[in-house]
């Protein structure tokens, strides 16, 4: 298939970016979206042009490294699909495809389609864990966990940290990302001990890092490649206010 690409090119964080158009012919329909970009880049290198920079790693939808804004949607318009799992067969011959980086205040552009998502790491550092040390923990079966709750915790823990929720949000909010982590631990007896502290610390860090607030449009849920539910945000809000009252 033949396609036209409109790709955001930006030399570095401080440079001014712009769209550049590329015509790409004979793209195999079985190729993934990133393999299509590989084909483009190989052509650019041979021509002596600077290839397009984008983040990617595992290419099987789990590491969360890739993330392109494709035709106005983070990871493209298909449900529960990361950019690396998007295949060219989903496009039509002759299509024009617009590719942009995540655009959000908390994610400054590094180069072209690559952004700095270290703010997500800083959110986790604020308390997205259970503070146990290595060793000296009870036997794994000492504390039974309700299967239903364990399954919900697993669903929340499926977040890959790609940042699509933030990129999708008109306010640039990280509520789904934080809500998922808070929920995972709030649902488990192991995480309950620190639950009140955790939610308050993570929410405070979210504000400090320049993420916006939530106005319940649920764009995050609609665009999340792992189908993380907004009920995690509701659970976080509940925990947050409960923790405030207890204080």
């Amino acid at each position: 298939m033949n396609i036209k690409l409109k790709i955001w090119r930006q030399k570095n964080a401080s440079a001014k970016g712009h769209f550049v158009e590329y015509q790409l012919n004979d793209v195999p329909a079985e190729a993934s979206f990133l393999e299509m970009l590989d084909i483009l880049n190989e052509q650019l290198v041979l021509k002596g042009d600077d290839p397009v920079t984008f983040d990617h790693d595992c290419r099987e939808g789990i590491c969360g490294a890739c993330g392109l804004y494709i035709n106005g949607h983070p990871h493209g318009k298909f449900k529960n699909t990361t950019t690396c799992q998007l295949h060219m067969r989903k496009f039509k011959d002759g299509d024009t495809i617009t590719v942009e980086p995540w655009r959000s205040e908390a994610f400054p552009i590094i180069k072209d389609l690559m952004v700095d998502r270290s703010a997500l790491d800083k959110l986790i550092q604020a308390g997205g864990y259970i503070s146990v040390h290595t060793g000296g923990v009870p036997d794994a079966n000492a504390i039974p966990v309700n299967k239903h709750k364990a399954d919900l915790a697993m669903d929340a823990a499926s977040c890959i940290g790609c940042g699509a929720c933030v990129a999708a949000c008109k306010n640039g909010s990280a509520m789904l990302f934080v809500g998922a982590k808070v929920s995972q631990f709030a649902l488990l007896p192991q995480g309950e001990v620190e639950a009140d502290d955790r939610v308050q610390k993570m929410v405070a860090r979210m504000d400090a890092l320049g993420f916006g607030s939530c106005s319940n449009t649920y764009a995050c849920q609609a665009e999340c490649p792992k189908g993380i539910s907004v009920s995690n945000i509701a659970r976080m809000n509940r925990n947050y206010f409960a923790a405030k009252i207890k204080k």
């Binding site: 570095n12 195999p28 079985e30 190729a31 993934s32 990133l34 393999e35 590989d38 084909i39 880049n41 190989e42 290198v45 041979l46 002596g48 042009d49 600077d50 290839p51 920079t53 990617h56 790693d57 595992c58 290419r59 099987e60 789990i62 590491c63 969360g64 490294a65 529960n80 799992q85 067969r89 590094i110 180069k111 790491d121 986790i124 550092q125 604020a126 997205g128 864990y129 259970i130 503070s131 146990v132 040390h133 290595t134 060793g135 923990v137 009870p138 794994a140 079966n141 039974p144 966990v145 299967k147 364990a150 915790a153 697993m154 823990a157 499926s158 890959i160 940290g161 995972q184 192991q190």
Partner: protein, 644 residues
């Protein structure tokens, strides 16, 4: 140089306890004065760095990705083994030990493997305490499943995302220490060289991938936890940035490289579909618990399937050859990975392969869906089925999956002693980057176990034992001539690559290297093929240094990153082939066609090859020197592996 594995004396089951009781300690005030560098943030690196931080050392940790959470451990699907015996099916530390030694085809060190089995239970406790949401049954207790190479259910799992959940657990622990300030995180950095001062590893040179600048970091000890070198085959299940370069630089600086030819080909991957393909996707081995592997009994039917004239579902039950169940009645579809991979290749080579390439076999869930119901199958494997459908565009609930073997894991790696220390003092290697625990073949669900064992439960002890002698050593200056020299050498290498400005891309050479490796150094190896491979790799290497085209872009330069790694792969490939040529036997993942039993199984030669092959670098123009560490088996009987 004599290889000293430093295995403690005494009965096998007491060695680790004895070591821990006798090792040297560092008091808290001194720990604060000591620096440790950890390169890599996968299961081994993240767990080690977090544990060192908790203990009070100053830790500097480096990762190639934008975040430590992206390390490729994240992609492990199936599970993690432990000898908990929660399933009450007769499991024990001894059994896990024996299964791992046997699975590795008797080419691993007994003492290391026993320790691994011993700490496996601690790992599960640790992860549960961290909030890793393992699968549970309705009692609220942990669920288990069985895996290849074992007759018990000892595998703990979190859906098909066990690696993700364990890594996020370790990442959480690491994040906690970053917040506390004991660990300093350096992301988007790639290690370019290790710096050795007076015979000890004292630091590293890294390339800041954003600015393109080289940076120097020093420490009292360096841990390499940078994973395996599977991408030497170009196509593999590894991530795009997975590479063997950090370990390779250590090799060039004097650390021995062990058993490089022990590479694992995983039997259940989605088959190759085209030239432009950048990677292969693994389908968890756990699928073999319920899926049945088959090809048509009739080669003519296989041809019609390849030509798309009939569908898999058109083949009636009696015309299907469930070849693993036929050949290995005791283990059936659950034979170890190398056995399953070779059996698939054997059927395809004999003309029974399916898919348009003829390079695929079926993995069928029809029987499981009938037996358990679609919902139960979906609960167990839902995300894997979804992933398959996304890539192949076929629904595996209706049409059998197609699978084919792909390069997945490298058992070989930096030679380490019982303390996980390489032949360079103060240079440690953990996880897939070392060679230690899996012998010639790794069992499913054992990689996660080893990574976390090394990081949480082994290095925290052995590192202290090493650092106890370093307490009088002040912080190491990065202005030492050794740092300057190492940085200069890296700079020269980069300048040389950039100045070639040739007419072929890095990827195209990498792809060609991969083809040579897959055809001649892959699942089945021959003396002649290996000799050809060595020459072809040499020629490709020359071509690379004359014709590669790498854009000279300031700052972020992905093409340069790739070129630097491929330059190393072009050297590694040769060592792998040389090692395979030296090893005149078949064992585990290393199958030499000349050495097989009459029914096509791997034929070991315990009399001559029960050793670890450790190579010492001798400069670019000389062949490396082979050192042998004899393997002594005092607690298991060496047997022909038999899964029949």
């Amino acid at each position: 140089m004599e290889l000293n594995s430093k295995i403690p004396t005494g009965p096998l089951a007491e060695k680790w306890t004895k070591y821990k009781a006798e090792q040297k300690l560092v008091n808290p005030a001194n720990k604060r004065k000591l620096d440790i560098i950890v390169v890599g943030t996968g299961l081994a690196g993240a767990s080690a760095a977090a544990s060192f931080g908790e203990m009070g050392f100053n830790v500097k940790v480096f990762c190639i990705q934008d975040s430590p959470r992206r390390a490729h451990s994240i992609a492990a699907q199936g599970g993690i083994n432990a000898a908990k015996n929660y399933a009450n099916d007769g499991d024990s530390i001894q059994r896990l030990f024996v299964d791992t030694i046997k699975g590795g085809d008797y080419r691993a060190r007994e003492a290391n493997v026993y320790r691994l089995a011993e700490v496996s239970n601690n790992i599960i406790d640790q992860c549960v305490a961290q909030g890793v949401p393992f699968a549970r049954d309705y009692s609220g207790l942990l669920a288990n499943r069985s895996f290849g190479g074992a007759q018990v259910s000892r595998t703990f799992y979190a859906k098909g995302q066990t690696g993700q959940q364990l890594l996020l657990g370790a990442y959480g622990a690491l994040s906690k220490e970053i917040e506390r300030g004991t660990v300093k995180m350096y992301a988007r950095r790639e290690m370019m060289d290790v710096v050795i001062v007076d015979g000890r590893a004292r630091g590293i040179i890294v390339r800041n991938l954003v600015t393109g600048e080289l940076e120097r970091y020093s420490a009292h000890a360096v841990v390499i936890a940078t994973g395996g070198y599977g991408r030497v085959f170009f196509l593999s299940t590894n991530a795009m940035s997975s590479n063997g370069s950090a370990a390779w630089q250590c090799y060039k600086k004097g650390a021995f490289m062990a058993n490089p030819c022990f590479t694992q080909i995983h039997p259940t991957c989605i088959p190759v579909h085209g030239d432009y393909q950048s990677k292969l996707t693994l389908m968890s081995e756990s699928l073999r618990n319920d899926g049945r592997i088959w090809v048509p009994k009739d080669a003519e039917k296989a041809r019609l399937l390849r030509e798309g004239k009939i569908k898999a579902t058109d083949i009636p039950e009696e015309e299907r050859d469930y070849y693993l169940e036929r050949r290995y009645p005791a283990f059936g579809n659950l034979v170890p990975r190398d056995v399953a991979s070779r059996a698939a290749k054997e059927r395809c080579d004999a003309g029974y392969g399916v898919n348009n390439t003829g390079r695929a076999v079926y993995l069928d869930f029809k029987e499981a869906i009938q037996r358990l119901g679609k919902q139960a199958v979906e609960e167990k494997y839902g995300n894997l089925f979804e992933m398959y459908e996304r890539i192949v565009d076929e629904n595996p609930y209706v049409t059998p999956m197609m699978i084919y073997p792909a390069v997945h894991y490298t058992m070989g790696g930096l030679w380490v002693d019982y303390e996980l220390q390489t032949t360079v003092k103060g240079l440690f290697a953990a996880g897939e980057a070392n060679f230690s625990d899996h012998g010639a073949n790794r069992l499913g669900a054992s990689a996660l176990m080893q990574g976390l064992s090394d990081g949480y439960f082994v290095l925290p002890y052995t590192m202290q034992n090493y650092l106890a002698d370093q307490i009088n050593e002040p912080h190491i200056s990065t202005d030492l001539p050794e740092f300057v020299e190492a940085e200069d050498a890296v700079n020269k290498k980069i300048t040389r690559i950039l100045s070639i400005n040739g007419d072929v891309t890095t990827d195209s050479i990498h792809r060609r290297l991969g083809r040579v490796m897959w055809e001649k150094v892959g699942m089945t190896r021959t003396e002649q093929g290996l000799k050809e491979a060595i020459e072809e790799i040499k020629a490709l290497r020359e071509e690379f240094w004359q014709r590669v085209k790498v854009p000279n872009t300031e700052g972020m330069n992905n093409e340069l990153e790739k070129a630097l790694r491929v330059a190393d792969f072009l050297e590694m490939g040769e060592l792998i082939a040389r090692d395979a040529l030296m090893r005149n036997e078949s064992c585990g993942g290393h199958f030499r066609a000349e050495y097989q039993t009459p029914d096509g199984e791997a034929l070991r030669d315990d009399e001559h090859y029960a050793f670890v092959a450790a190579y010492e670098y001798q400069g670019a123009d000389n062949e490396p020197v082979l050192h042998k560490e004899e393997l002594k088996f005092e607690n298991v009987e060496l047997k022909q592996r038999n899964y029949k």
